[in-house]
């Protein structure tokens, strides 16, 4: 099993979710995060204090899938999340050893 973690632009969430359900993925977890990267931020001014804000709002999406589905998941996320402009985000994949569905106690592939 693999966990696909993607950092995307916030307004792309619905498209990514739809793309994933489109390929049969029916569970995912989303976290609000701040990203620092090449995309430049903005300046905020509060009276005499000026701040260069370089952390931008992003969403992190985590999807646990069977290993064989990883490529299509990556493909789905990447194409739905892409705007072509800097700051579109990243996808990282890593292996998971075990999975458990709390409600039923099912494990591994059955738990996804």
């Amino acid at each position: 099993m693999k966990l696909v973690m993607a950092i995307i632009k916030p307004f792309k969430l619905d498209e990514v979710r739809d793309a994933l359900t489109g390929i049969g993925v029916h569970g995912l977890t989303v976290t609000e995060v701040k990203g620092y990267g090449r995309q430049k931020g903005h300046t905020e001014i509060y009276r005499g204090a000026e701040y260069a804000v370089s952390f931008l709002p992003k969403l992190k999406i985590e999807v646990a899938v069977v290993a064989s589905a990883v490529d299509s998941v990556i493909e789905a996320i990447a194409s739905a999340a892409k705007t072509g402009q800097i700051g579109d985000g990243k996808i990282f994949v890593y292996a998971i050893d075990q999975a458990v569905r709390i409600r039923t106690g099912e494990t591994d592939n059955d738990a996804l």
């Binding site: 307004f11 619905d14 903005h42 300046t43 905020e44 001014i45 509060y46």
Partner: protein, 450 residues
């Protein structure tokens, strides 16, 4: 499309209007000022009431209206809304004492005042303005203040129609132009002793046409011209902070007593009637919206209650001191039903994006109220009556007043939006919309977690 045809017949109408206004002005300028014979008395109770009424209308605007609107937009656009409402209010105050008061309440003609009181020329602490009671006056400065607050809030109402996508410069430029070419003339026509609608016997106790229909229609025009928000109908565009909206609704209600009961210019029995009506029409409208929504959608929502409250306030505005309390409740309730249907069904069917339902509540509620005033004023229905009243006749006059206002503001707003579009452009880019107007236009964020 529709806009084109509106323009086709509307623009000449406006031009004609301006021409007539100009002529009327030329004629009128020759007439002697008809004020202040036999020094009227000023009562400190009235003066106090009018001062506090003015203050209450400011409370309606900042923070009232600003919060009511602000809570309904997304967090990233919060400050832009607060800022537009507040800046426009400040601009209109300055404009008001420079030339607005003179254009609206200077003698002038049937359509517009004159320049006799620019920079408040000639007004001193001893100057007085007449009230509706012979021989009773109030200090002119407080009349200037009171009317100033109306001029300050009205253009601010409009921005709800195209919130979350307009350029700040466009919003404030439009507001000043609209105040000048639409609001001041309509205020003059309806409220000035020699205004056209006033002459017809059109009733508008506290500004149903001048404030609500006027701004509601302008908002509709703006919403159509600017187009829908990016993501409208697709993304979740939910109010970011409904408690703010409730604070706003509460302060609108509180302040509206100044607006409605203050419009009597005195603290007498009629004023207390206007006060009472502003309580009960509002309560009834809030409840009706809530119960109708409960029936139609399955749950009664706080936003529904708050929307009904505002619809009721709008509807009772023209009738505040004219209706009896029972008529007021009926008027509020009817407005709530119609506005509910409009905001939840008709708008979606027509497909334009009036972000905060300015037309659906102020425009529609204002029309219900303005026409309904012709009915509930009837002594048979508990209203206070007016000289030579017949229901059909009065309703007709009210409809004429509504029509004049709708045409004037519809056409005027269209032209002014076009001008502003040429001068500074109306709409921000899609990227800017996505990032949010607070950062893009104002370099700030409303909230920082730490």
């Amino acid at each position: 499309m529709k806009l084109g045809s509106v323009l086709r017949w509307g623009a000449p109408a406006l031009a004609a209007g301006l021409l007539i206004a100009a002529t009327a002005y030329a004629q009128d300028a020759a007439a002697p000022a008809a004020a202040a014979e036999a020094a009227p008395t000023v009562n400190k109770g009235d003066t106090t009431w009018m001062m506090i009424s003015s203050v209450l209308v400011l409370l309606m605007t900042i923070p009232g209206l600003a919060l009511f609107y602000g809570g309904l937009v997304r967090a990233k656009n919060m400050l832009s809304v607060l800022m537009q409402v507040s800046t426009i209010a400040c601009l209109m105050m300055v404009v008001w004492v420079i030339y607005g008061y003179s254009l609206a309440f200077g003698d002038g003609g049937a359509f517009i005042g004159d320049f006799s009181k620019v920079f408040l020329a000639g007004i001193t602490p001893d100057s007085t303005s007449a009230t509706f009671t012979k021989g009773v006056a109030i200090p002119e400065y407080v009349f200037v203040c009171f009317q100033m607050t109306f001029a300050a809030i009205t253009p601010g109402l409009i921005i709800g129609g195209f919130a979350e996508r307009i350029k700040f410069s466009a919003a404030i430029l439009f507001a000043v132009l609209w105040g000048t070419f639409v609001y001041f003339p309509v205020a003059h026509m309806v409220w000035s002793a020699n205004g056209m609608v006033f002459g017809w016997g059109g009733l508008d106790f506290a500004g149903g046409t001048v404030v609500h229909i006027n701004s509601g229609v302008a908002a509709l025009v703006g919403a159509i011209l600017l187009g829908k928000r990016t993501g409208y109908g697709k993304d979740i565009i939910a109010p970011h902070n409904l408690p703010m909206t409730l604070i706003g609704a509460g302060l609108l209600w509180v302040g509206w007593f100044g607006f409605n009961a203050g419009s009597n210019l005195e603290a007498n029995g009629v004023t207390t009637l206007a006060l009472l009506n502003t309580f009960v029409a509002t309560a009834a409208a809030g409840l009706v919206w809530m119960f109708v929504e409960w029936g139609a959608k399955g749950k009664p929502s706080m936003l529904g209650l708050a929307s009904g409250v505002v619809a009721g306030l709008v509807a009772i505005t023209p009738a505040a001191g004219l209706s009896g309390p029972m008529g007021a409740m009926v008027l509020g309730g009817v407005a709530a039903v119609v506005c509910f249907i409009f905001c939840t069904s008709v708008k979606n069917a027509l497909g334009y994006d009036d972000s905060l339902d300015v037309f659906g509540i102020h425009g529609i509620g204002g029309i219900i109220g303005a026409i309904g005033t012709g009915i509930v004023v009837s002594p048979d229905l508990g209203g206070v009556g007016v000289a030579d009243y017949t229901m059909a006749g009065q309703v007709l006059t009210q409809i004429k007043a509504v029509a004049v206002t709708v045409v004037w503001t519809g056409v005027g707003s269209l032209i002014l939006f076009k001008i502003v579009d040429v001068l500074v452009g109306l709409r921000v880019t899609v990227d800017a919309e996505q990032e949010g107007l607070d950062i893009i236009s104002h370099g700030e964020q409303a909230y920082h977690a730490s």
